[in-house]
């Protein structure tokens, strides 16, 4: 089991563009959470998906949206990119009933120019 995988590793986009990041959870996990980690800060919770529905959401604008597929993999979409969206985006998977034990992916580094 490769654990949580994310793609792409790095991404450079221009302001105003849209981006899609992808995440495959650890085998056996049913829940995916997304985090934004700016330089020098801790991960900030964006949202969580379980049973293909958004279950929890952090303090992020509607420009941030997501999806979970029947195979539990997930996408994070960000529209109308701003310079401030530049960050490391982390995906974490878990079992819904054991939400504290999150397994993190390596992250996608997004740079907005």
């Amino acid at each position: 089991d490769a654990g949580v995988t994310q793609s792409p590793t790095h991404l450079i986009k221009t302001r105003g563009q849209q981006v899609t990041l992808r995440c495959s959870p650890k085998s056996g996990h049913d829940t995916v959470s997304w985090y934004q980690q700016a330089l020098g800060q801790g991960p900030q919770f964006i949202f969580q998906y379980y049973e293909e529905e958004e279950r929890q959401r952090g303090n992020f604008p509607d420009r941030f949206s997501g999806h979970q597929f029947p195979n539990y993999s997930s996408e994070l979409n960000v529209n109308a990119l701003l310079l401030g969206d530049s960050a490391l985006y982390l995906c974490a998977s878990s079992l819904y009933r054991v939400g504290y034990e999150q397994y993190f992916g390596p992250g996608t580094r997004l740079t907005v120019t």
Binding site: V4, S33, G40, G42, F45, Q48, G58, E101, G105
Partner: protein, 109 residues
């Protein structure tokens, strides 16, 4: 707002010295508290959970509800303890995880 504070961004200790990484949270209920760790070139991973009350890699953490603190301690630091440590909490088992800003621990040989 739910918050976790870690007052030290950087902490340096000598090998064999005691280490304490501080964490305070702002929630009046009974949260679940955790410490996550990220070693160099590795992924963020769960270190310990307050409910389990176990010692992991020699680290322990005591929940003080009166002071809303959850400090991480180890009596004798080792070089391999050098890492980024994040305090985190959840209001309930099904809630989102809120992370603190992190403390970078450097153990000097």
């Amino acid at each position: 707002a739910q918050r976790v504070t870690q007052p030290e961004k950087l902490l340096s200790v000598f090998k064999g010295a005691p280490v304490e990484l501080k964490c305070n949270y702002s929630y009046s209920g009974s949260p679940e508290l955790f410490w996550y760790v990220q070693y160099s070139r590795q992924r963020l991973q769960l270190l310990l959970r307050h409910i389990s009350r176990e010692s992991i890699k020699g680290f322990t953490a005591d929940l003080n509800k009166g002071e809303t603190s959850f400090h991480l301690k180890k009596p004798f630091a080792q070089e391999e303890d050098s890492a980024m440590y994040y305090c985190a909490y959840m209001k309930t088992s099904y809630d989102k995880v809120i992370f603190g800003p992190g403390t970078s621990l450097s153990v000097i040989p």
